[in-house]
C-alpha cells in the first residue's frame, strides 16, 4: 500500500476529483492548506501597507491506495492538475506500514479496497 499525497491548486480541485473518480479512486481526504513552492510571490497592498504573500492557497489530497492503483492515481492527478505554470503543486508517494478500516477492523489491502469492489470479489 501507498499513501499518495498531492498538493494542487484550489481551482484545479474539481478537475482532479473528476479524474480520480474516473479512475475509480474513491477513498480520499482533502484539506485546504497554504504553502510555498517556487511560484512568484504576489504583492498586495492594504492602504499604506505593502506585503508580499509568500504562501499560496493549495488543496492537499491524501489517498491511500493498494500498489497497483498508484500509477493510475498519480497519472490522473498529473493530467488533471497541470496548468504548465509554476505553482501547479507536487505529488508524494509514501510507503504505508499499516492501514485499518475502522468500521470493520479490516487491515491493509482489504482496508483500502472500496466496499462494492470487495463485495464483488
Amino acid at each position: 500500500m501507498k499513501l499518495v499525497v498531492a498538493v494542487v491548486r484550489p481551482d484545479k480541485l474539481s478537475a482532479v476529483l473528476e479524474a480520480l473518480f474516473h479512475e475509480e479512486v474513491r477513498g480520499l481526504t482533502i484539506g485546504r492548506v497554504q504553502g510555498h513552492g517556487g511560484e512568484t510571490e504576489r504583492v498586495e497592498t492594504y492602504r499604506g501597507t505593502t506585503v508580499k504573500m509568500d504562501l499560496s492557497e493549495k488543496v492537499r489530497l491524501e489517498i491511500g491506495v493498494s500498489d497497483h492503483f498508484v500509477a493510475p492515481t498519480v497519472n490522473a492527478i498529473l493530467a488533471s492538475a497541470r496548468t504548465g505554470t509554476v505553482g501547479d503543486g507536487k505529488i508524494f508517494v509514501l510507503p504505508v506500514e499499516k492501514v485499518y478500516r475502522i468500521r470493520t477492523a479490516e487491515e491493509d489491502q482489504d482496508a483500502v479496497t472500496p466496499v462494492e469492489r470487495a463485495v464483488r470479489a
Binding site: 491548486r9 481551482d11 484545479k12 474539481s14 478537475a15 497554504q34 510555498h36 517556487g38 512568484t40 510571490e41 504576489r42 504583492v43 498586495e44 497592498t45 492594504y46 499604506g48 501597507t49 505593502t50 506585503v51 508580499k52 504573500m53 509568500d54 504562501l55 496548468t83 505554470t85
Partner: protein, 432 residues
C-alpha cells in the same frame, strides 16, 4: 413654480437613500460570487459611484435632461453649466441633478452582474463610464427628459424601462460578447456568502424607498403611494416565490428570498406612483413567475449572465412596465388609466417603450463592448481567472489571513508598486 422646503428635504433624503443602493448592490452581488472574486465584484459597483458620478456631472446630465431633441438632450448643460439653485419643479435644480445622478450610477452598476468573475477591471471602467453617457443618458431623456417616449405618454414612474430593462438588455449583450466564465457549466460555482446577499437585498429595499417614492420629486401624496407600493409589491413577490420554492423543492432558500425581494422591487418601479396598493400586490405576485422560471432555465444554457441580471431586472422590469399599462388608475395617479380601466392604448405605448429601450440598449452595448475589445483584452487571462480577480486585478484578498505575508519596507516602494517590487523580490534569497 416656487421652491418647497418639504419637497427639498425629502429629495435630499431620497438622494442619499438611492446612493446607498449601489454599495448595497455590491454586497448583493458580492455574496453570490466565489470568495476569490468578492472584492472585484463589490468594486464593480463601487467604481460606478466614482466614474459614472463624474461622467454624469460632466456630460450625462446634459444629454439626459437638457430639452435638446426628442432622441437626446444637448451638450448645453455640460459641466453643469446653468444648473444652480433655481427651482426645478419645487426643488433646487442642482438637487434634481444629484438625485438623477444616483440613478445613472446604479443602472451602470447593475450591468456588472452579468460579467463578474472574468472581466478585466480597466476595460470595465471604460465600459460603464461610456455606457452611462451613450446608453443611459439618451434613454433617460426619452422617458424623463422630454424625449419622444414622454411625448407619446409612456409611463415609467421610477425607471422600469430606463433603469431595469435597459440594464437587463445591456447585461445580456455584455455577457454574450464577453463569453462564459471558464468554469461555467463545468463545475459548480456557488455563492460564497449568502448572508452578504441577504444583507444587500435588505439595504436595496431600504434605498428603494428613495428610488420609488423619491421619483414623485416631492413630499407628496404621490410619494406616499409609491412608498406603499414599494412595501407591498416585493412582499407579494416574496410570498409567491416562497410558495414556488416550497412546491418545487420542499425547501425555502435564502438566495431565493433575496432574489424575490429584488424582482418585486424591480417590477413595481415603473408602476409605483401609478397603481393602487391592491394592484401593487397583484403586480408583485405576478412578477414572481417569469423571473423564477427564467432563472431556472438560464442556468441550463450557455448564457453566463452570471448573476441573472436579465431574469431579475430585464424580465422583472418588462413585466412591471407592461402591467403599469394594465393596472394604472387615474383615480390614484391623476394622469392616466391602464388597459384594465378603459385605456388599452396605454399598454401599446408601454410595449413600444419596452421594445425601443431593449433595441437601443442592446445595439449600443454591443458596439461599446466591441470597440473597447478592439483596443484591449476584455477578459482576464485564464490563469488570472483561476487565481481569482481579487488578487489578479486588485492585489487584495477579501479574506486575507495575513499568514505568510511579509512586510515590504516603505522605502523600497517607489513608483508603480508591482514594477518596483518584483525585481527586489525575485533577487531575494532564502528560497527553499
Amino acid at each position: 413654480m416656487t421652491m418647497s422646503a418639504a419637497d427639498t428635504a425629502w429629495m435630499l433624503v431620497s438622494t442619499a437613500l438611492v446612493l446607498l443602493m449601489t454599495p448595497a448592490l455590491g454586497f448583493f452581488y458580492g455574496g453570490l460570487v466565489r470568495a476569490k472574486n468578492t472584492l472585484n465584484t463589490i468594486m464593480m459597483s463601487v467604481a460606478a459611484l466614482g466614474f459614472v458620478g463624474v461622467a454624469w456631472a460632466v456630460i450625462g446630465y446634459s444629454l439626459a435632461f437638457d430639452p435638446g431633441w426628442p432622441l437626446v438632450g444637448s451638450a448645453s448643460r455640460a459641466f453643469l453649466r446653468g444648473v444652480g439653485l433655481e427651482a426645478q419643479g419645487t426643488i433646487p435644480h442642482l438637487l434634481f441633478m444629484a438625485y438623477q445622478a444616483t440613478f445613472a450610477i446604479i443602472t451602470a452598476a447593475l450591468v456588472s452582474g452579468a460579467i463578474v468573475e472574468r472581466m478585466r477591471f480597466g476595460p470595465y471602467l471604460a465600459f460603464i463610464t461610456a455606457w452611462s453617457v451613450v446608453v443611459y443618458a439618451p434613454i433617460a431623456h426619452w422617458v424623463w427628459g422630454g424625449g419622444w417616449l414622454a411625448s407619446l405618454g409612456a409611463l415609467d414612474f421610477a425607471g422600469g424601462t430606463v433603469v431595469h430593462i435597459n440594464a437587463g438588455a445591456a447585461a445580456l449583450v455584455a455577457a454574450l460578447v464577453l463569453g462564459p466564465r471558464k468554469d461555467y457549466g463545468r463545475q459548480a460555482i456557488l455563492p460564497h456568502s449568502v448572508p452578504f446577499t441577504v444583507l444587500g437585498a435588505g439595504l436595496l429595499w431600504f434605498g428603494w424607498f428613495g428610488f420609488n417614492a423619491g421619483s414623485a420629486l416631492g413630499a407628496s401624496p404621490s410619494a406616499a403611494l409609491a412608498f406603499v407600493n414599494t412595501l407591498l409589491a416585493p412582499a407579494a413577490t416574496l410570498v409567491v416565490w416562497t410558495l414556488m420554492d416550497l412546491r418545487r423543492t420542499g425547501k425555502v432558500t435564502a438566495v431565493g428570498g433575496a432574489t424575490a425581494i429584488v424582482v418585486g422591487l424591480v417590477a413595481i418601479t415603473p408602476a409605483a406612483g401609478f397603481v393602487g396598493p391592491m394592484s401593487g400586490l397583484v403586480l408583485g405576485a405576478l412578477a414572481a413567475f417569469p423571473s423564477y422560471y427564467a432563472l431556472l432555465w438560464r442556468a441550463r444554457t450557455r448564457l453566463d449572465d452570471s448573476l441573472d441580471v436579465v431574469a431579475a431586472h430585464g424580465l422583472g422590469g418588462t413585466v412591471g412596465a407592461l402591467l403599469t399599462g394594465v393596472l394604472a388608475q387615474k383615480a390614484w395617479n391623476g394622469t392616466a388609466d391602464g388597459a384594465l380601466f378603459g385605456n388599452p392604448k396605454q399598454l401599446a405605448v408601454q410595449a413600444l417603450a419596452v421594445v425601443a429601450s431593449i433595441v437601443y440598449s442592446a445595439a449600443l452595448t454591443w458596439g461599446l463592448m466591441k470597440a473597447i475589445g478592439a483596443v484591449t483584452a476584455l477578459r482576464a487571462a485564464a490563469p488570472d481567472e483561476g487565481l481569482g480577480l481579487d488578487v489578479s486585478q486588485h492585489g487584495e484578498e477579501a479574506y486575507a489571513r495575513g499568514e505568510g505575508a511579509i512586510l515590504i519596507p516603505a522605502d523600497s516602494v517607489a513608483g508603480p508598486v508591482g514594477a518596483a517590487i518584483t525585481p527586489v523580490l525575485q533577487a531575494g534569497e532564502g528560497r527553499p
